[in-house]
């Protein structure tokens, strides 16, 4: 009669408890692998939550008010101002635009913010020397004052008290701007910040009709205001004015989205680390249970059923998992607190480091599922141990587990991938990563088998090379550690290799290839009465090979075929915020028309437009559809007459929307120009244009590329940090494999010594086997990395992939080195062991 379920569980519990008295020898790797994986996920999640909390706490400071209404190309009308004053207790007006700051012969791009006396409505600007809040920004002689980013001031050679120009207006640098309270809400800026009083811009000539600028009205609202209701009220009253609304519910959506995506990506990298750790968990459980075969066989002899034995060891593994989880969660929660000063200093956003249950629970869930997912396969083997193992070695310990266990493994894998897909908010990436990891594990398992087969094949041909032959014999032998080493190291290196390939390809595309095809400068804000002179100046310049110009306005796509744009095109980037628009009577030379036809030169019918073909397809727009754009508060509707190719990859002029001249020509506009010139002449061209047209802003493409490269470097560092945890876990697994193999190596060394092998030969053999396995894992990792990199670049980033050798060679060498280190760490005892004592004991 079998035991009732409850008794079976109690019996399993009693056996487990007694068995655990033997200690957790050999499961340190299990604990470390699980703890590291859980800790990295918990730490990333905690930091992400801390940023969310910090941004929520300081939402009003980041935004510069409780709510913000902004316009493009214009300030609010008197009516609008009156309406805003009705809503808010205070309204602060600011304006934001790019310009050139000029000091003597030095000139540099700057992002200017013109502010009123109320700025900053919330928080306080950090300045050096200190400027009291709400003090008028004014120079010693009555000219407008300015606060400037220290980096920009240094570039221009300015000290507080010095003067500089924005357009035609002279400003005095009052203090350096050390901390700009509302910087987080401003989005991406190409130039460092300069803050000036609004009144100082009146005579600068920088805010003329058609010039690119945004005005913002920050509202201080009464306590407890219903932001949603207020937004509806504002949109109902001013909805067709081209306004944009933001409030403290999402003060910096761009930053929040970036933090969320980066955090989710790093959590996925952490999950990959957990998969690497899973190899260690599996090997560790296997090794733990191997030491328990006699106990299991004895229990079988005494009449214990499979359920009792499996239960007893499941309980032990569960207890270890709980211990690993607690360790990991403590580490994951503690690390951000420990490194709080460093994190706060490195991140440009407010951050409230603390204990957040949400991310810890998420990490715990992943860890718990992963622990059982990887433990069940070896655990299932307890059912295969027969009582006969007590008197005969080589009991039935191998082969596939029973179907019920395979089903459980499948269910746990689905649960883990499902949880990652749901909780990461990046479903496709999570699924892609899962497919990649499962595929890589399969590939690595096959590779490990192939390496063992090759080792067995080559070994007999290596007569006279004792060390190499012994190394290959060990790799090819039954029970060799080739599988855990190749799996763990290969997966860890594979993730690094993928990132290495993506990073190297992106850098190559941006820093190496782009400058060869990109223009030297973008010039913006060229007034209509300046464009002829601008073109004349440059066309006669021998160092300038090409100048392209186009009229430019900014506007927002509000409707498609009369319906709100978001209902038709979702969250497509073209309808997010305002976009550059142009008009032309002739089709641009470098954009093939793929459907429809361009309008005649003298076209005067209903407004028409040409749309970028790829984006049109993405948004579901075709010929004959109508688009409504809001320009300067005016709605203009035009029909799609042509679809054309627009190439954004060469950083030239590329507009998604080009209108017929009769649609936009009457609106105030400026010109944009791209100038292709010799690098050596760039500074001179900038000086000449800057002196003749002080209101024109120049954006040096090389500087922009540098800035993007810097941002990429930051991203690469963050992901490399995430991936390094994966590699550390891989290293722990290697240490585990090396430790598990130590008794075998001690015996092998003893026998080799008895046969006359010198210690040098034995050491060389140990080193060779580690290096061969490590390098093999590296080669597989590079192949997997190339495949992963190709998939990411071609399908996700719409870029082209080329194999990057430097990254690949580093990965292979790194693999060999790491494996060598782990192997040699456990080589000394075998080398030092005395043959007599070892062999006598073994009999």
């Amino acid at each position: 009669m079998s035991l009732p379920e409850q008794s079976a569980f109690m019996m399993a519990w009693r056996i487990a408890r007694r068995d655990l008295r033997g200690g957790l020898g050999g499961v340190q790797i299990f604990l470390l692998c699980l703890a590291l994986g859980v800790a990295s996920i918990a730490a990333v999640g905690s930091v992400r939550q801390a940023i969310d909390a910090g941004m929520t706490r300081e939402a009003a400071i980041i935004l510069g008010g409780d709510a913000e209404i902004s316009f493009t190309h214009r300030f609010a009308t008197d009516d609008e101002r009156t309406f805003m004053r009705e809503l808010a207790s205070q309204v602060s007006e600011t304006v934001d635009f790019r310009s050139m700051a000029v000091a003597g012969s030095e000139r540099a791009l700057t992002q200017v913010r013109g502010v009123d006396r109320l700025w900053p409505l919330y928080g306080r600007a950090g300045t050096d020397p200190e400027v009291a809040p709400n003090t008028p920004l004014q120079g010693a002689n009555g000219e407008p004052g300015a606060l400037m980013d220290p980096i920009l001031a240094e570039r221009l050679g300015l000290m507080p008290g010095d003067q500089f120009n924005l357009g035609t207006q002279v400003f005095e640098l009052v203090a350096l701007l050390v901390d700009e309270p509302d910087a987080g809400g401003s989005g991406f800026a190409l130039g460092p910040r300069t803050i000036v009083p609004l009144w100082g811009l009146d005579g600068s000539g920088l805010l003329g009709p058609g010039t690119i600028y945004d005005s913002q009205y920050r509202l201080a609202l009464p306590e407890g205001s219903d932001l949603g209701a207020l937004q509806s009220r504002v949109e109902a009253r001013m909805g067709d004015s081209g306004l944009r609304w933001r409030d403290t519910r999402a003060p910096a959506p761009g930053v929040a989205e970036f933090v969320d995506r980066m955090g989710a990506f790093l959590v996925l990298v952490g999950l990959a680390g957990l998969a690497v750790g899973g190899v260690g968990i599996s090997a560790s459980v296997r090794s733990y249970l191997s030491a328990k075969i006699a106990t299991i066989a004895t229990l079988r002899t005494l009449g214990a059923e499979t359920s009792v034995i499996f239960g007893a060891y499941l309980i032990q593994i569960a207890l270890m998992a709980v211990l690993g989880l607690v360790l990991g969660l403590a580490l994951g929660a503690g690390l951000p607190v420990l490194f709080a000063p460093l994190i706060v200093a490195r991140l440009p956003v407010p951050i409230d480091i603390g204990l957040y249950p949400g991310p810890l629970a998420e990490a715990g869930l992943y860890g718990l599922i992963a622990a059982f997912l990887f433990a069940i396969w070896p655990l299932a083997r307890t059912g295969q141990v027969r009582a006969a193992a007590l008197y005969r070695d080589g009991s039935s310990w191998g082969g596939l587990p029973e179907r019920v266990y395979l089903f459980a493994i499948g269910a746990l894998a689905v649960a883990l991938i499902g949880a990652a897909t749901l909780l990461s908010g990046m479903a496709m990436l999570a699924l892609g990563m899962a497919v990649g990891i499962v595929g890589a594990l399969g590939l690595l398992a096959l590779a490990a088998r192939a390496i063992r087969a090759i080792a067995r094949l080559i070994r007999p041909r290596l007569r006279g090379r004792t060390a190499l032959r012994a190394a290959l014999a060990a790799i090819g032998a039954p029970g060799s550690d080739a599988v855990p080493v190749v799996l763990s190291l290969g997966l860890g290196l594979g993730i690094l290799a993928t990132m290495g390939q993506v990073d190297a390809n992106l850098r190559a595309a941006i820093a190496r290839d782009l400058p060869q095809v990109a223009p030297s400068y973008f010039f913006v804000d060229i007034q209509t009465d300046q464009i002829a002179a601008f073109a004349d100046t440059l066309s006669g310049d021998g160092d300038v090979s090409r100048v392209d110009t186009a009229p430019m306005l900014r506007g927002t796509v509000t409707r498609i075929n009369g319906q709100p744009a978001a209902e038709v095109a979702g969250e497509h980037w073209v309808i997010q915020g305002d976009r550059g628009l142009t008009f032309a009577s002739e089709a641009p030379a470098d954009g093939e028309i793929v459907a429809g036809s361009w309008w005649p030169d003298d076209y005067s019918g209903p407004p028409l437009l040409a749309f970028a073909a790829v984006e049109a397809a993405e948004m579901g727009i075709g010929l004959g559809d109508s688009l409504t754009v809001n320009v300067l508060g005016r709605e203009i509707t035009a029909e799609v007459a042509a679809l054309r190719e627009v190439d954004f990859s060469n950083a030239g002029i590329g507009f998604v929307l080009t209108f017929s001249p009769n649609a936009l020509g009457g609106a105030p506009h400026t010109y944009i120009a791209t100038v292709y010139a010799e690098e050596a002449a760039e500074a001179r061209i900038l000086r000449e244009i800057g002196s003749a047209m002080p209101n024109v802003t120049a954006i040096r493409v090389r500087d922009a590329i540098d800035q993007v490269t810097q941002a990429l470097t930051g991203l690469a560092q963050a992901t490399a940090l995430g991936a390094s945890v994966t590699l550390i876990t891989g290293f722990v697994v290697l240490i585990g494999a090396a430790a598990a193999g130590e008794p075998g190596r001690i015996r092998e060394a003893a026998i080799l010594k008895t046969l006359g092998a010198a210690r040098g030969t034995i050491l060389t053999s140990f080193a060779l086997r580690s290096a061969i396995l490590g390098a093999a894992a590296g080669v597989i990792a590079v192949l997997a990395g190339a495949l992963g990199g190709w998939a990411v670049l071609e399908s996700v980033m719409d870029s082209t992939f080329s194999f990057e050798w430097v990254s690949a060679i580093l990965i292979v060498l790194g693999g060999a080195l790491i494996s060598l280190l782990a192997g040699l760490a456990f080589a000394w005892r075998p080398l030092a062991a005395r043959p007599a004592s070892i062999l006598r004991h073994r009999g």
Partner: protein, 229 residues
């Protein structure tokens, strides 16, 4: 004649090895009557232990039939065999095979607990007393001598009062004095409630103390002598 408690009919055992299949037992046919003691003797590698393990359901016959208490062990699953052993058999090994993480008392109590007996520990304590180890109940195997370990193993094997006691060279790892003491206990305790004993041994003097001696040679029963003295 009463029905045999153990009955083997044309039993073969073939195991696979790297060098190819090896015949361990060939055409073994024998019956053991209830309450008797049988010694299995023979040279090393003759198949004694394997035969004992077949009787205990620890090993499965490649061909032939092994019946214990009228039940054919062949079709039984591993779990069914475990339950069968729990109910009817005790096994004693040369290397004791006590569970190292359990005390002597817990080792003895385990089969009783597995059988769902509520007074497992009281009965285990009594069994330990019976083998003279009441004072060692709280000790772990590593803290006991070989003789004490084997006496604990004996207490564990007979605690559930099995109808059959299988002993695989139970004195093989013990010196002469301890070996004789353990053997005395095996015979006396088995006798005390009428258990059937099958004993694998190299020692003729131990075999001579059994009712019947069977000799194996190269996996076959070499001869069928009558009952010993």
């Amino acid at each position: 004649m009463t029905e045999p408690i153990l009955s083997l009919k044309d039993v073969h055992l073939r195991l696979s090895s790297h060098a190819g299949p090896v015949d361990i037992l060939r055409a073994i046919t024998l019956d053991v009557e209830a309450g008797r003691s049988v010694a299995l003797t023979g040279a090393s590698g003759s198949g004694k232990s394997s035969l004992l393990m077949l009787m205990g359901g620890l090993e499965r016959a490649t061909a032939g039939q092994v019946c214990v208490l009228g039940a054919d062990l062949g079709p039984l699953s591993e779990d069914a065999l475990a339950r069968f052993r729990r109910a009817h058999m005790g096994v004693l090994f040369q290397s004791f095979h006590l569970i190292p993480t359990m005390t002597a008392l817990e080792n003895v109590a385990t089969p009783l607990e597995l059988a769902g007996m509520p007074d497992a520990f009281d009965r285990a304590a009594a069994e330990l007393e019976a083998v003279g180890l009441g004072h060692r109940a709280g000790h772990y195997p590593a803290e006991m001598s070989g003789g004490e370990q084997q006496r604990t193993a004996l207490a564990r094997a007979i605690a559930p009062r099995p109808e059959i006691l299988l002993a695989d060279e139970p004195t093989g790892n013990l010196d002469a004095i301890n070996g004789a003491a353990v053997m005395d206990l095996i015979l006396s305790l088995g006798d005390s409630y009428g258990a059937t004993l099958v004993l694998v041994t190299h020692a003729p003097e131990l075999a001579a103390r059994c009712d019947e001696v069977l000799r194996l040679s190269d996996g076959r029963l070499a001869d069928r002598p009558g009952a010993a003295a």
